[in-house]
Amino acid sequence: MEKKTRREFLKEAGTAALGLGWALPLAAAGCAPRGHNIAGSQRQWAMVVDLEKIQDPAVREAAQKACARTHNIPHIPDPQEEIQWIRVESFEHVFEDQIHGAMPPHELERSVLVLCNHCTNPPCVRVCPTQATWKRESDGIVMMDMHRCIGCRYCMAACPYGSRSFNWRDPRPFIETDAEGKFLSDFPTRTRGVVEKCNFCAERLRDGLEPACVEAVREVPGGEGALVFGDLTDPHSEVSHILRETPSRARRVTLGTGPNVFYIG
């Protein structure tokens, strides 16, 4: 049998998928139900970000660094090609639908950590032609299967939060290594041509560990509680408790995606 390289295969598959291209986003737009409904998953992991505490740059850097090292995320300087699982953006940009003229500049300029919202109704999942991304029923994580991703980037177009990155080039030369040139983690790197995003550290949860960013901020003085992770369907979890007791916000809730990353403070 004539063997195709991954790239050749993807090119052909991509051409075939173009035919579907116009229809999928339309289908997706029409059917997102409103409001927050977590009935579909047995559990729903969620994160609460404390905006006060992440104003310390050391806290934000700890979270980002831990994420990059855990998942062998490349550091590509060109903003057009960078790969980001957890990014920093301004309040003004992140909550653009919630700002008004009377807000003081220091509020608008606050730094916000943004990551995949692991939506209850994820639009990216609806548009994926290969089920390379799906909503895991057992715990609500929006998973990625790198083996199935054909790099069509519909999910990136569908995500209203810009949570996904595309590998425009081989990421390996841009991944941090130790003195012997070894990667810092055995989490598989990615290749040119696949989309990636935050996986709520599914691989660490499997081993009974918390997400790397949550663990890392706790080590920074003043970072305790900057990121809190837990099960939203459990009324006794810390996230449920915080969200009951404290005013909170989430990104672009009127879209009906049901984001599961919340912001307080």
Binding site: D145, H147, P188, R190
Partner: protein, 130 residues
């Protein structure tokens, strides 16, 4: 001895020669595991693969596909072999933990068979090796 006899002897020798790879090994010429072009795990570490060797030779790619889907898609974190042993379904953490010389085992055989799995473009060797 007539021509017929000579032909029979010749045939016998021929058959012996042709089938040498089959009986030669039984006669104790080669250690088990038996391919001298491949580097097997140190017998102190392991003498058996996850399943029987012949099955592994023929089916390791299917096993890997199953492990991949089990772990990534179905959230299954254990593989029970037909002998009842339990394994964590990971290419790097399990297969390469035993087969620690990837170049002289997986790759050497694949080069010979002219197959080029793309797994190593993403999967590392244990300890973060490319």
């Amino acid at each position: 001895m007539g021509d017929r006899g000579k032909a029979l002897v010749g045939l016998g020798v021929f058959i012996l020669l042709v089938t040498f790879p089959l009986w030669g090994r039984l006669a104790g010429g080669q250690p088990v595991p038996g391919r001298d072009d491949l580097v097997y795990p140190d017998p102190a570490k392991a003498t058996d693969c996850i399943e029987a060797r012949d099955w592994m030779t023929a089916n390791h790619m299917n096993l890997l596909n199953r492990w991949r889907d089990d772990l990534v898609r179905r959230g299954v974190t254990e593989y029970v072999s037909s002998s009842g042993k339990r394994y964590y379904p990971s290419l790097t953490k399990t297969c390469l933990d035993c087969h620690d010389d990837r170049d002289k085992f997986c790759n050497r055989c694949h080069d010979y068979a002219h197959v080029t799995p793309t797994c190593w473009e993403c999967h590392t060797t244990p300890g973060g090796g490319a």
